[in-house]
């Protein structure tokens, strides 16, 4: 009664979900970065004027 495949599945899913959450956080970060870049461009433009 080893059932290593079940054990493997359990630990794989644990890491898959945690990485999924980290990826989700990363997406949030990227969206923020984009907004920040836009803001920067805006500031630079105004300086040129």
């Amino acid at each position: 009664m080893d059932n290593l495949n079940y054990l493997f599945a359990a630990y794989t899913i644990i890491w898959a979900v945690i990485f999924g959450y980290v990826f989700f956080m990363h997406q949030r970060h990227r969206r923020l970065q984009r907004e920040l870049d836009l803001l920067k461009e805006d500031v630079d433009e105004q300086k040129m004027d």
């Binding site: 009664m1 079940y6 599945a9 923020l32």
Partner: protein
């Protein structure tokens, strides 16, 4: 983020990594194979750790919800929100790893047993918590409603557990106090590793959300400046 904060978060990351590696070693190499259940019992260590962290996360939601309604500081709402999110992530994992463990041991994926059922109800309550926030007309109202549910939901949990316990008295084995030391150590290290993981993830989420608020403020200020 200040210099001190960066140092602190790096220490936390290092600690998390070390603890997680130690936990993996203890779970897979150090811990003896359980006699009745075999290798599959090794799910237990992470399963229980995640259940603990989920409970901790929901407790944080409860405390921060009370503090938010009392003090009305946005930071309490932010902590409650991300703690609920993490709590749901870990409860989901508990609900997935539970059946994977149950199938080879009990021969079925799911039984309507107190702990399983109570965990499922808990999960549903906090899904509602996130939904109420996204369905509220304004963010401030959503925060208030979510706080109310954060309090009501957490108070409900022990009553849910008690009623389900009386409904189905089917005791699963493995209480922490009966564990032999060679199994207790892996469990404790796993719990510590997951607690640190929780702290890392929540501080990250909170600082991200603070940044978000700052960017939004700057944008509004810009827009006003342009108009004038």
């Amino acid at each position: 983020m200040g210099e001190k904060n960066i140092v602190r978060s790096n220490i936390l990351l290092g600690l998390g990594f070390a603890l997680m590696t130690a936990a993996l070693y203890l779970v897979f190499i150090f811990a003896p194979t359980e006699e009745a259940m075999g290798q599959i019992q090794r799910i237990f260590y992470f399963h229980v750790s995640m259940a603990w962290v989920a409970f901790l996360a929901f407790f944080v939601v409860f405390i921060c919800s009370i503090l938010y309604l009392w003090k009305r500081a946005i930071k309490w709402d932010t902590i409650a929100r991300f703690s609920a999110e993490l709590g749901i992530v870990f409860t989901t994992l508990v609900l997935i790893t539970g059946p994977i463990w149950a199938k080879p041991v009990w021969g079925v994926w799911w039984i309507w047993e107190p702990r399983l059922t109570a965990t499922l109800v808990l999960w549903l309550i906090y899904i509602a918590y996130l939904l109420v926030r996204s369905y509220a007309a304004e963010a401030s109202r959503g925060a208030r409603f979510a706080a109310v549910l954060g309090i009501v939901g957490f108070i409900d949990v022990p009553i849910v557990y008690l009623s389900i316990h009386l409904w189905r008295t089917h005791h699963p084995p493995a209480l922490v106090s009966d564990l032999v030391p060679s199994m207790l150590l892996p469990l404790l290290v796993s719990v510590a590793a997951f607690t640190v993981l929780y702290i890392i993830l929540i501080t990250r989420s909170i600082s991200l959300s603070n940044l978000e608020a700052e960017v939004r403020q700057l944008k509004d200020a810009r827009a006003n400046q342009r108009r004038s």
